[in-house]
Symmetry: D3
Subunit: 315 residues, 6 copies
């Protein structure tokens, strides 16, 4: 396939911004990984604007040169990757948006490809988990975030928002609650027993204080022991990272991870049975110098590397 | 009433940011005008972020010194104004948001006060018109905008969005189509017969080219002749103004009015029977130096001046 | 052709950012217009950064809805448009960049398509004129700019920079000096006889003061009388427009056109024999709220409309 | 008290921005804590603009959900908090501003409430210490900062500026110099013996290098041992934190604390006899994505939590 | 004098930023014009930050190429210009700052040079007028502004601020009230009789509505007739210009002049007996793309051109 | 020498922005250190804009108060420092720019002064190394960076760009490959064997992971052992630091050093035989709150301190 129109032979400042210059197409034959944007931001409790996340992450992905020195793999050597474009979200209808998201993801999964989705707000984890559950059954979940997103509601009486997806997912039995970790949790909460509530629902919480005390190596070890060989869904809310490193997000929470720690933790998942990935809550309107989108693009590159290692190992 | 805590005796940089330092309260007795924020932005087709419009317009209103030299009136000498705070919008439910908006506005109107609402996106014109129609009957509408907002849908199959409120309002018979003017219309459209469609529905379109050719004085004259003594609802989408003067908006359209022209047109409505006002589509995320919010605050000040002149004339 | 992956059925905030959702391809068969980016900015005398112009103009083109109400044409109904991607510029070699630009443009022109190019700095007008001259012979040139770009050098001893292309083009006999107009010229100059020098070289200068005194209608009339039926190359340096309307540019010059005037002048060229177009000097690093790129996208839309009218007239 | 007009039942993006939605009032009966803004910035040696600090910290406080998970307390369950608005500062008269500040704070303290003040520049620490000294006698001071602010003058011959308050406070005998700690000190200084001078005046300096070498736990231990049961005034200059985490400040100093470290140190003061608090030098003009104001709001939330724990313990 | 270290032979992006590359020196022998910065911003009623105005205007002056095409003069061919640096202002003491300003300006005037001063806030007009009055006697004043700055006080009881300088100057009999024009006045005012008050004090007010109705040519004519051959002080508050063109200012006022109009009015003063100049209220913190500072630099270039024409005429 | 015109007695917000208020001059007699700007950015592979680096670093250097508390030295007490201004770069000719850079640096070195150069992009390291090699012979190089800059080309077939200088320098035998360290290397690379290639060429790579694992003290120890008493050239690419701390750069790479670590490493070089210094890749267009330039100015201050210690030791 000739990707030159996208700039595969050009410098990062030139060309059309598909993810890493891969072809924009909806043809799924022989595809290993499809990058999928879901520009939906109506379910946020503070800043909207994450609808521009997928577009901007694609743009910054032009700075990815292809070889992962830490994981020792050049993902595009092993994977056929496409940019599937965006889900046709409906800002005024979260239910329809969820339905279309689940349907689109199922289509891709059914064609045998892995989905890496770019949000959009975190409410999207629910339709993503639904689609992956349909394919893989109950999922171990490694969830990087500053918020547990296990509230019963953000908006009184409304079950779906960016603060509730993982509670809904547990209720819908999509998650294997023996292997559900939340990493980086912090900040003020609406109730004093928020963590207890989440724990009772089946989440294992590693607060940022736990994380800072342990260091990334030990966190990775805990994750690996917990998830074992289960199929794993990785959900990365960029606000897990400190606003100094990721200011461009909808509900920033101070006192978080550095970008180095974030990268190290994701790299630590190499060799596990990762089956799904999302990177959500990038809000370019509040970013500067594109540093948040650049970090997001690099985290997605780590996701791609995990997928490549998995495929290489399987061959 | 002691407004000192809001900063009524302070410089513009100090104090708590209610609109023009007026008291934040929901007590409506003896109130002439209630400023009402409606921070809803889920119905937009490009940039979200207008949910922060009301907050920022209030902040910039601290720069309003009180006396209108052109209209020769100091509104707060004649009107008891309160800041009613914001409608409890639900970003994921436009129907409920509309219902709450209409209900809140009705409550205020029923108490005998005039509402000046701060958006939020332009979809809100519909629930606002519903509430005003309930009180005043069919409304003449003076609609400043770059877009007619008379599409059948923005999102295929969805009747409510920020591109459709005036079509819905016509369909619901809220508007007196003998006196409905759209001023400043411009930009590319989805169909070549967009203007014809709007005209057929009852709108009288003054494109920006007409407006530039005529000048503001003649525009004002046309408005006055058209609306006569009818009860008038004024809806001002800040994107009527050129992005140079109002960059902070959701769907900017180049080639628009200057701020001077905008002010002159609103001032030109003095003496008419204005019964309702909205100022919508201010999106501070894309503003700079707060110039859009400052212009919006000044336009709201002109609205207040119109209301003051009307009350003074009635006494 | 299925453009859905680019977002042809999506809202402006979604999809992959080719120009107006048109297919990214280098296949030129049956193509009417090719959009071509040339992200070169090494020849600038003040701010670099226009290398990001093509990318950002493409992004903002998603806000173009398709129908031109002033010129009464929906360009994509008449033209098959593609996004050809970017020229492989070499920031450290202006000569090679020029050679590649001319070669690429010739390839497209030879395939029978019209080129609309997105800069990049204005030095690129020279290789663009070379390619168009090869196809069309000597060209009438309608050149919107605040600077005449007819210096002998910006950098002492260097013939090629963004201040010299039109002098070089005259020297290379690419321009029909009976029909070369510069419109919007202003600002301080390096020598008092700068205008005289340009006039002697064959340019007809309309300073911004002339332009403001005459108005756009009369300017258009002058252009039309001057160029007649000649093949016309239109070169639009965004700094012709005032920095209030187009802050995102490399060498802004205060006291310029409004966006409305810019649009009106380009529309005024309808019916003429336009054969080539460039829109240069958009520098997103210094823009805000994307207003400069939005204006540029709209000006390109006017170019497309001119091309569509020409094709429609020829049928 | 009905706080709904301030948005107590609304999402963070809605409502009028008092601190944490608490009532704006000057009624002090039964009040435990009064939040007080002091928007004075005339005493700064580099960037002015901190006059907008109080307003912006209030705005970001809407993101505080109420429960402190680390200190295990929901401050508003224990404290009656009001937003007292701002001191009527006089930018051209530092003496009068100091007098008004001291008077206002005394009024609040005399009514039995605790003051948490939001700056404004750090010169304000002097009138704040004066008022607290009048109530509590000599104060232990925990002073987080990158600068010691113990110069004899910033402006030759002028005793009052943002570089001198703590020297003046020592000279006025307001501080218990057996218990005065400066934490985070760094950066170039005007004299090589600056630290010696400060030490001679009674300050105990923990430079950032000491702090980084020790870690926050040991710093906290040192603080606790030093201050014991004395009444403590906590002064937090946001520039103690690194500009990566707190760019929005008047005299940023590179090489500072992370936001996580800042939070941990303040939390470490739980159980001590804190009697006064200030958070100063937030300059929103140089912030981005509001990350500095968000951090400031969170630090104030920790102050509130300390106050709540103290009251709970006293009951 | 060798100015190469300042970049006189370099492109605008290179070199040390004195005004137009002229030598930084305090040697006044044979100097025609001294550029003087006065970075004082403590007397402002809204945004501080104009202390960075002089620095940024100098930076943008690197874009001035030397020849004024409208006035047909290359100022540096006729004038020996130096950059005198900045007055040593004291942010906490307006009286001392005024004294130092007056003294510095007197020193320069006494050496036979003309002063062009760069603010800083508009309170500085008073010490500037004092110094010029000492040299030239009562002054005709051409005052471009959106505010008359003739209040008795901004801060109750304080005579000196950026809202009062011209009242003080009239009271001190520095201005010839037969020849004092205010041009561009607009916006809300604190009292309905503000204009009457100013008129009674001797100012002739041309509101922005008068100005827009008349056009710049007629304004210029009025100015010329009014001032005749009197010695003229020109005071240009950048907020006379609309915030679209000059967002970077302390108290922006919507509905103002375009940059083209501003330039035309200043150029219209050619041939008059201008003896002093200030350009104030540029606040780079709220600018974008440096467009305000660029406009300011161009206006100062027009001032220089006026001075050059005067000297040429005198020879 | 009287530096008052540059503001040596003024606050940081005032005065003309030479580096640390030192005299702008090209007179080299008795000079110890010359600060030299090289505003060239045509050799960058992503963002241009570093041409404004020297100017902005100078501006922020006004915040440096003179005494280095960690290294216990006030550099200006020991060194006569001048600001030599900028090299007359030619954006369209990298060869000529290199020649002029080398020539200018040689002139300064030959006069017996040390050069601290401010970039500009990293391609400049090559002409800088050439000039230093001519004076000092083969150089030990301590190279802080996220990228090794040892590619054979960025632009196919072009030997000179910001990704190649150190390969060229090795090829030209300018570097002592027994003492060439790269510190902070990270990010995706174009080939999997990039590090191997660099190692084979003679570089000793400390990746960011090595660095984070070891800590700055151990890094410093390694450097000291490696370079010994050799003449050392220190090249600091600001992108060695994480984008959170240094967003204003051309090719940011996430997961890097903190500003504290950066300062500590440079300070660790005290006592070594440093003979040359550059600080490159500061791109103010993408900075915010000037934090990157402030960090750069502080790093240059550490360079100055190293030079002062060296001179003091030699006396």
């Amino acid at each position: 396939m000739d990707n030159s129109v996208y700039g595969s032979t050009l410098q990062p400042f030139a060309g059309i911004t598909t993810f890493m210059r891969q072809p924009a197409t909806r043809e799924l034959k022989d595809v290993d990984v499809a990058i999928l944007g879901i520009p939906f931001d109506s379910a946020t409790s503070y800043r909207s604007g994450t609808r521009f996340g997928p577009r901007k992450i694609r743009e910054l992905s032009a700075m990815l040169w292809g070889s992962n020195q830490v994981l020792r793999v050049a993902p595009l050597d092993h994977l056929r990757v496409i940019d599937y474009g965006d889900v046709d979200v409906v800002p005024v209808d979260i239910h329809e948006t969820f339905a279309r998201t689940t349907a689109t993801v199922k289509t891709i999964l059914d064609a045998g490809a892995t989905v890496i989705s770019l949000g959009g707000d975190h409410s999207l984890a629910l339709p993503l988990l639904r689609a992956h559950h349909a394919k893989f059954g109950k999922l171990a979940v490694v969830h990087f975030d500053s918020h547990g997103d296990m509230w019963d509601y953000d908006f009184v009486g409304y079950k779906y928002s960016h603060g509730t997806p993982f509670r809904r997912a547990v209720e819908e039995d999509l998650i294997d609650t023996d292997a559900y970790l939340q990493i980086g949790i912090r900040g003020s909460t609406s109730a004093l027993d928020d963590y207890e509530m989440a724990t009772n629902l089946g989440a294992r919480i590693m607060t940022i204080r736990d994380a800072m005390a342990q260091g990334t190596e030990k966190i990775v070890e805990t994750i690996r022991q917990t998830v074992g060989t289960r199929p794993i869904y990785i959900s990365f809310d960029i606000d897990a990272v400190d606003p100094a490193y990721a200011p461009g997000t909808g509900t920033p929470e101070v006192g978080g991870f550095t970008s180095f720690q974030a990268l190290e933790m994701v790299r630590g998942l190499a060799g596990l049975n990762s089956v799904g990935f999302d990177l959500v809550e990038v809000d370019p309107s509040f970013d500067h110098g594109d540093i948040t989108s650049l970090l997001a693009a690099n985290l997605v590159f780590e996701f791609l590397s995990l997928a490549a290692l998995k495929k290489r190992a399987a061959q």
